[in-house]
């Protein structure tokens, strides 16, 4: 039995097509994926992402505890700043990827993947040991909406959050809008400027309606998980379960930028990760585009010089580019680089693909 977010009946009214995702019944699209995708690239869209997990970490040892869990240096995070990072296991593989927001000294807020919430909590508790921290899973009490697209700034202003007081990129603010207390963060998963709004359950329907109403003049649409996937793929943002899992390290996944090189504290998997930084990795994540009209999909095999050298982790048509794009792991020993032509096996036939730079689509307005 799938869980439903508090917006389920609102979404049904809007004609949403529902799918099961990470134990939740979620809208995959309301009209069609390409229109919704373009709406976020050109205007503004609102996503119900209430399935995601919200976990608060507080206590005297909150910082030390988080330092043990992630390769990022959380000590560098000042109040109300956010950082993208990963929970690593002892071999450097990934338990999950997440955003950590520092609310105040000794109090942090974690937004994690819905599909990983239970495993994350187990992992957090098993690492708690003698740390003086409270792990407070508030996922059942909070809902979350993402407002994404170049016009999201105008929309938030229309809602009463003026430009000057909007949180800056990768920061979070506690604000009161229309009498409701919300967390508003300048983060997202689309490659566009935008906000993620964390809302007490009892207020989410009101905020949803308010966004759709006030957003009309900016061309707002509700956006489903289908477009969320094509948007994040164009921006080459990883999807846990596809591009990341317990056997992929941040270095292999091309997330070396999110690993602190001079962090003094030990963290899970540190020795493996530092060794990979020094000596290199056996597989690496690359971006590719198909040179034919056939989309590559998750798990398809990659060949080079007639040898199987890797596999596709994410693949889909890019509505912005009109080409089929994807992410794949390939063996580093084969010297596959930008411009290399490899073959993707699709239904027992080979189709050429070119290794290209990530992201596939760049943000127009830098925040």
């Amino acid at each position: 039995m799938c869980k439903k977010t508090l917006l389920y009946s609102e979404q049904e009214k809007l004609g949403a097509k529902m799918v099961a995702f990470a134990g939740w019944e979620m809208p995959v699209s309301y009209t069609n994926i390409i229109d919704e995708h373009n709406c976020v690239r050109n205007n503004v869209g609102v996503f119900d992402v209430s399935h995601m997990g919200e976990v608060f970490i507080s206590g005297t040892d909150a910082l030390a505890f988080l330092q043990k869990l992630v390769p990022q240096d959380i000590s560098r995070l000042t109040a109300l700043k956010a950082v993208y990072c990963q929970l690593t296991n002892s071999t450097g593989g990934l338990v999950d990827d997440l955003i950590i927001y520092k609310l105040e000294d000794s109090k942090y807020f974690l937004i994690v993947n819905a599909s990983r919430l239970e495993d994350d909590l187990k992992w957090l508790y098993s690492n708690k040991l003698s740390f003086d921290v409270e792990i407070d899973n508030q996922s059942d009490n909070y809902s979350m909406l993402a407002v994404q697209g170049p016009k999201s700034v105008d929309l938030m202003e229309k809602l009463g959050l003026e430009r000057g007081v909007q949180p800056e990129f990768f920061t979070i603010k506690k604000v009161t809008l229309a009498g409701m207390n919300l967390f508003v963060a300048r983060t997202g998963y689309t490659g566009e400027d935008g906000f993620e709004i964390v809302i007490k359950n009892e207020d989410v329907v009101d905020v949803w309606k308010l966004l759709l109403e006030k957003g009309k003049e900016y061309g707002i649409k509700p956006i489903g998980l289908g477009a969320r996937d094509t948007l994040r793929l164009e921006a080459a943002l990883h999807l846990y379960g596809n591009d990341l899992n317990e056997t992929t390290t941040p270095i292999e996944a091309g997330l070396g930028w999110s690993v602190a090189k001079n962090k003094l504290e030990d963290y899970n998997g540190k020795s493996v990760i530092m060794k990979q930084i020094k000596n290199g990795v056996e597989k690496k994540l690359v971006g590719f585009k198909m040179l034919s009209k056939i989309p590559a999909r998750h798990d398809y095999e990659i060949y080079y010089n007639n040898e199987k050298v890797g596999w596709v982790t994410s693949g889909a048509p890019s509505p912005t580019l009109g080409e089929n794009i994807g992410l794949a792991y390939v063996k580093t020993s084969c010297n596959i680089n930008i411009g290399t032509i490899v073959q993707v096996m699709i239904r027992n036939k080979f189709y050429d693909a070119e290794i290209v730079k990530r992201p596939f689509v760049k943000k127009k307005n830098k925040v």
Binding site: K17, I33, I294, R297
Partner: protein
């Protein structure tokens, strides 16, 4: 969308329409609606043969690749080349210009036993 009279539908969402012993095979309006934006259609070669239930085509939407099963056995005598250039035709006109293949079938009478008339199919899938 109204379906043409006389079509028979498989529960796996393919339809057949007979005209002078030639069977036009396509996907139902319900199927294309569920698939969403279709971006690529892979059709079999003319002259290839399939038994009932065998995968004979693949339809790619933005979201996923979906297999299309032969609702009856037979030999492909014509494929809809238009879908190669304009796969969206399948979304817009599943019963018109969006047909997939035309087949000759010697086993049609036997194979179509479990196919449903459109109204019954609709009731089954909705």
């Amino acid at each position: 969308m109204s379906a043409p009279e006389g079509i028979l539908c498989a529960k796996s969402h393919e339809y057949i329409l007979e005209d002078n012993s030639l069977f036009t095979v396509g996907l139902t309006d319900y199927a294309v609606e569920q698939l969403g934006d279709i971006v690529f259609v892979e059709l079999p070669e003319v002259g290839s043969s399939f038994v009932k239930g065998e995968v004979f085509a693949t339809v790619e939407s933005v979201k996923a690749a979906s297999e299309v099963y032969a609702p009856i056995g037979g030999k492909v005598v014509e494929i809809n080349e238009k879908l190669v250039e304009s796969p969206e035709t399948l979304n817009n006109e599943p019963y018109g210009d969006g047909w997939l293949v035309k087949m000759e079938s010697e086993t049609a009478a036997l194979d179509s036993g479990d196919l449903l008339e459109y109204e019954d199919y609709k009731e089954e899938v909705l």
